[in-house]
């Protein structure tokens, strides 16, 4: 540096000191965040000036930074000392014209201020001083916003709610947010330091930040490991000098030491509930990967790019969840955790290759690889992580809905529909059963928004089928998000008091039991007199169904998660069998009725072949079984949610209560039914069976559409209220309405056919004696 520059520097320095002293003496103290920003801005201005070879200006800016730093005199001693050290280093750097050293000093200064503000906020929070804590909390770093995460706000919310009574909890929330943030940022800055492709000033600034951020995390490390941190702190402190000296080997060594520490601990460990939530996300995202991949490839060729991209997205979600759990898993079994980590990396590589079409592994290979990971995780996970976690369900539903929107934007409505069905299936067998027990109105709204609409608002299925614009889909998505959020909040706030669980279980059993009573009453009404014996096989079917329901309960208790995957399909199959048998019985009912009434004199049918009677017997057993088991199966599924909430003992008390109520209503119904005049009962019974059949057909078509076995063609302009679907199986799709019309035509046609045949027969009977008479 030349003599003239040195003289200028001295003069400028003296002037600034005077100005600074004057400023601090006369002006009202600024809030910490303003002073902190001034320190950072002035040091950056010094960097810019130095880059433009303006040393004098650079020195002046460093002095301004020192002046501003005086205002941060309430920082705790250690961070204050680190800040002084950083500013002194900045002073030296501008004197020697070393831009990289200045960048490093600036990083250290910023980090020191954040360290100090964290400690200050923590200290006043412990004292219950919300106002001062709020001031200090404004001086903090944030996680970088990414596709999967937004900057955390837990500390801000915790300080807002701070009282003298909850100070300890508030400190814990403050720690969780800020330590998580600083650890994430420390990892990012360490990566920049390690990257030789980054410019040196950026690496130097990051090295300064690393030295300060490590000090923020160090107490948590000592708490968790009880280890001596001198070596780590030394590595953090040596990073910047090594980098500035151009010693890449020493830099690497320090980075490795710090990286090893960061990989082995988490400053703000996840709460148990958060861990369970991440575990749920991980398994759900993983399950979706082979599904998407399988749809996207055939052999070694990519058929549908978007499916592969969805698989990549879900894998990224799984990887993020795994990263959050990795440390906990390592404590359980480090070898297996490492193996799973490698397996996940391999799957990610395979997906990336398929996405870029450089190589494509067969779908079966992908399925096998993911199954291997899933098996390993299930072995590793503690039992509580494997329990149903509805928050994870909501997370995955949101992610799948993202895929719906992405597919619509790409104009691929088929893919959007398949993603919609996936999202609905996750909701349907995840949160819905619990929600049904506690907030059925919300289920109605969410179901409607997933399908044909709700209260005049359009539904996703309808909008996709009509090729709605991305904005229309996004608007429905926004409504769904709101309803799903409300559902999540509702389930999170559940009052699991035993009384509430018992009454909800009783209501479910009573509700489903009544359905069975109606169907059985309708079917058995005609079985009187000579046909009373036909009740026996039906009752046998009902008893078998009750046993099957008990077995289903037991299975559901053992393998609920597996059952959930097949639940809707199983329901569709059982419903189809029920419809088939009901159609046969309806036909039989009309014909038999007329036979009985009008051809009572003919007893030929009494000599039916044994095989025919056997078939009739079996048919009635199956009818009794399917009519009852449909309800039993649904009841079991609904009750599982409550069983998870409160345990089977409490739920079974509700079941008993509901069963008694059903029994009473059933007895009254059958008693009253028996007193009705036979012909009127026949008419009512016929009508009831018809309505039950048509409703069952509508519901079954809807379930088949939900599992993707039937297409969905909405009826344009027709918006049916939710209750129409709920009570009568009426949904505004051509498939459902046509099937129901077909069922109605069958019932009515069967009636007229029976009547027509009867008329013809009667005429034949009337005519036969004459014919016989005239025959020679």
């Amino acid at each position: 540096m030349s003599r003239s520059i040195r003289t200028d520097v001295v003069i400028v320095g003296l002037l600034l000191c005077l100005v600074g002293l004057g400023t601090t003496a006369s002006a009202a103290p600024r809030p910490p965040w303003e002073a902190a920003e001034t320190v950072g801005d002035e040091l950056f201005a010094a960097q810019t000036a130095l880059l433009g070879d303006d040393t004098v200006a650079a020195i002046a800016h460093v002095e301004q930074a020192r002046v501003a730093a005086v205002e941060l005199d309430s920082l705790p001693p250690e961070p204050a000392a680190l800040l002084d050290r950083a500013l002194a280093a900045a002073g030296t750097a501008v004197q020697t014209g070393d831009g990289d050293a200045l960048a490093g000093a600036r990083g250290l200064a910023r980090g020191a201020v954040y360290w100090g503000s964290y400690l200050a906020a923590r200290a006043v929070t412990e004292q219950g001083d919300a106002e001062t804590a709020r001031q200090w909390l404004l001086v903090r770093d944030f996680r970088t916003s990414t596709r999967f995460s937004r900057p955390g706000a837990d500390a801000t919310l915790a300080i807002r709610d701070l009282t003298a009574e909850n100070a300890a909890d508030t400190v814990a929330r403050l720690d969780a947010d800020l330590l998580d943030t600083y650890q994430a940022r420390l990892g990012e800055y360490l990566a920049v330091v390690a990257s030789t492709s980054e410019l040196r000033h950026r690496r130097a600034e990051s090295a300064g930040l690393v030295a300060a951020y490590w000090r923020i995390l160090a107490p948590a490390y000592i708490d968790q490991n009880g280890a001596d941190i001198a070596e780590v702190t030394s590595a953090a402190d040596h990073l910047l000098p090594a980098l500035l000296a151009g010693d890449e080997s020493a830099t690497d060594e320090a980075v490795t030491t710090l990286q090893g520490v960061l990989d082995g601990f988490r400053a703000a460990p996840l709460a148990p509930a958060e861990q369970a939530r991440r575990a749920g996300q991980l398994l759900r995202f993983l399950a979706l990967v082979p599904i998407e991949y399988g749809r996207g490839v055939q052999g070694d060729k990519v058929l549908i790019d978007l499916e592969i991209q969805e698989a990549v997205t879900f894998m990224a979600g799984a990887t993020a969840a795994f990263a959050d759990l990795r440390l906990s898993l390592m404590e359980i079994d480090p070898a297996l955790t490492a193996t799973i980590s490698e397996q996940m990396a391999r799957v990610t590589t395979d997906l990336d290759a398929a996405n870029r079409k450089t190589s494509v592994v067969p779908a079966e290979t992908m399925t096998g690889a993911v199954a291997g990971i899933t098996d390993g995780l299930k072995t590793l996970f503690p039992p509580e992580w494997l329990e149903v976690d509805t928050d994870a369900d909501f997370d995955v539903v949101a992610s799948v809905l993202d895929q719906v929107e992405a597919a619509v934007r790409a104009g691929d409505y088929k893919l959007a529909e398949s993603a919609r069905l996936e999202g609905y299936a996750i909701f349907d067998f995840g949160p819905e059963p619990r929600l049904l027990a506690f907030a059925p109105a919300l289920v109605a709204e969410i179901d409607g928004l997933f399908w044909q609409g709700y209260n005049g608002r359009p539904g996703l299925a309808q909008a996709i089928a009509l090729k709605g614009s991305p904005e229309e889909i996004a608007a429905i998505r926004a409504e769904l998000d709101t309803a799903l959020k409300q559902a999540q909040v509702t389930l999170g706030d559940l009052n699991s008091a035993p009384g509430a669980i018992i009454s909800n279980a009783a209501i479910i059993v009573f509700r489903e039991g009544l359905e069975a009573v109606v169907i059985l009453a309708a079917l058995m009404a005609s079985m009187v007199g000579a046909y009373a014996g036909l009740r026996r096989p039906m009752v046998l079917g009902v008893v078998l169904a009750l046993l099957a329901t008990a077995v289903t309960w037991w299975i559901a208790q053992q393998v609920l998660s597996q059952l959930a995957h097949f639940g809707e399909r199983l329901e569709a199959v059982v419903s189809l069998i029920a419809i088939g048998v009901l159609l046969l019985i309806t036909n039989w009912f009309f014909h038999k009725t007329y036979w009985k009434d009008w051809i009572a004199g003919f007893h030929a049918q009494k000599r039916q072949l044994l095989s025919a009677e056997t078939g009739q017997f079996l048919g009635l057993v199956v009818l009794g079984f399917t009519s009852m088991y449909r309800e039993g199966f649904e009841t079991v599924l609904f009750l599982q949610a409550l069983a998870l909430e409160a345990g089977p003992t409490i739920v079974l008390q509700g079941v008993a209560l509901g069963a008694v109520a059903v029994l009473i209503v059933g007895l009254i119904t059958f008693k009253l039914q028996a007193r009705l005049p036979y012909k009127k009962m026949l008419v009512w019974t016929g009508v009831l069976i018809g309505v039950v059949l048509v409703t069952m057909v509508g519901k079954t078509v809807h379930v088949m559409q939900a599992v993707g076995w039937l297409g969905i063609t909405p009826i344009k302009g027709l918006v049916l209220p939710y209750w129409a679907g709920l009570w009568f199986g009426l949904y505004a799709t051509w498939q459902g309405i046509i099937a129901q019309l077909g069922a109605a035509a069958f019932v009515i046609g069967s009636y007229y056919l029976a009547e027509g045949m009867q008329n013809k027969r009667r005429k034949e009977i009337v005519r036969r004696p004459q014919t016989e008479h005239t025959t020679p």
């Binding site: 404004l138 949101a398 506690f438 926004a478 479910i508 359905e515 109606v518 039914q673």
Partner: protein, 364 residues
């Protein structure tokens, strides 16, 4: 009487229980409502702002499509022999290319002023990908939007990226070899410099008309948009933190790298101008939320307000210097980009705190 009662019970029970209904329908649900924080915030100004610039952009795209058509007709008259056309009518072609550049700039400028909102609002973000930001399949097969541009001569470009920077700008300024017809001395100074080119007429016409159509669709979407506080906060948190990426594009563009530019785009206008435009839209958006934030946490509002002023002033100052003839080095661009990202990360973080305090969900 009993008979009637029996019939009524049977019918009523059927109505109550018709197959497969939801159990517990009559249960009193202990639902917890998500508080709505929308009622007293008027976001109409944000929508009007977006519409205003959208309409001005549309005027630009209409003019661009018209000038591209005139250019196409002239070249068609020479059977797309660019050398013959240039030899026959250099003055008209120079005028047309100059007009085309001016129209592109008009459309682009107004889009940039809208970009913060269009790209940040989930229901509108599609248009940003299509019009301004999406990569081509060649650049990034994973992120490229699937669409096809059909040229008048029947050629089809699959997933060609966005209109402004993947198609039109490289064609008009000749930074993509396949999109230019012939390098020519448009300025008449005796040398063919960067940006002096006759664009491929087929590509230019298809892309200009496509952009005009896309702009109309975007405008329709903005007209239908009902802005919510969640939209506004999401736009801020999503769009503010992308400064590093923008500065990286600036560093690689002709404005910093000169003839060695790796970036095909941002030659017609500096990326700094775009960044300024985006921040302008976001600042406007924050203004409509400011009163609510201030009422909830005055210090946080002051910090956010100051953050916007700081970031806008910072970028604006750099742009003024660039316009004034300062040629920044790559190292300076990198330093400025790092600083802008630091400021942006902090600003987005503070906005996220405000959203949380107001109980407004930010879309993911």
């Amino acid at each position: 009487m009993r008979r009637i009662l029996a019939c009524m019970i049977l019918s009523g029970t059927l109505l109550l229980t018709a197959c497969g209904g939801a159990p517990g329908q009559q249960t009193a649900a202990p639902t917890t409502a998500v508080p709505a924080a929308e009622a007293d915030v008027d976001l109409a100004a944000v929508k009007n702002y977006a519409l205003d610039h959208g309409r001005q952009m549309k005027e630009g795209t209409v003019a661009l499509a018209a000038s591209a058509k005139a250019y196409y007709d002239l070249l068609a008259g020479h059977n797309f022999d660019y050398e013959a056309a240039w030899a026959a009518d250099p003055a008209t072609l120079t005028d047309l290319v100059t007009t085309i550049k001016a129209n592109w700039l008009t459309a682009s400028t107004h889009y940039e002023l809208d970009e913060g909102i269009i790209a940040g609002v989930p229901s509108l973000a599609y248009y940003d990908v299509w019009i301004d930001a999406g990569p081509s399949a060649e650049e990034d097969p994973a992120e490229a939007l699937e669409w096809t541009l059909t040229l008048p001569d029947g050629r089809e470009l699959q997933s060609p990226g966005n209109f402004f920077h993947s198609l039109l700008e490289p064609a008009i300024w000749g930074t993509h070899g396949d999109f230019s017809g012939l390098p020519v001395d448009l300025s008449g100074d005796g040398t063919v410099e960067m940006g002096e080119v006759l664009p491929d007429a087929n590509l230019l016409l298809a892309a200009a008309q496509g952009l005009d159509g896309a702009t109309q669709e975007m405008l329709t979407a903005v007209e239908a948009w009902q802005p919510t506080m969640s939209d506004a906060f999401t736009a801020l948190v999503v769009m503010i933190p992308t400064m590093n990426e923008y500065f990286e594009q600036w560093k690689l563009s002709a404005f910093v790298a000169g003839e060695n530019a790796e970036e095909h785009a941002f030659i017609g206008t500096s990326r700094l101008f775009d960044i300024n435009g985006i921040l302008n839209g976001l600042d406007f958006t924050y203004d409509s939320l400011a009163a609510r934030v201030e009422a909830t946490n005055p210090e946080l509002h002051a910090q956010i307000d100051s953050g916007f002023a700081d970031l806008r002033g910072y970028v604006g100052d750099l742009y003024s210097q660039e316009q004034g003839g300062t040629a920044f080095t790559a190292e300076q661009a990198d330093l400025f980009g790092t600083e802008a990202q630091t400021k942006a990360t902090a600003l987005a973080g503070r906005v996220a705190q405000a959203a949380a305090l107001l109980n407004v969900a930010i879309a993911e």
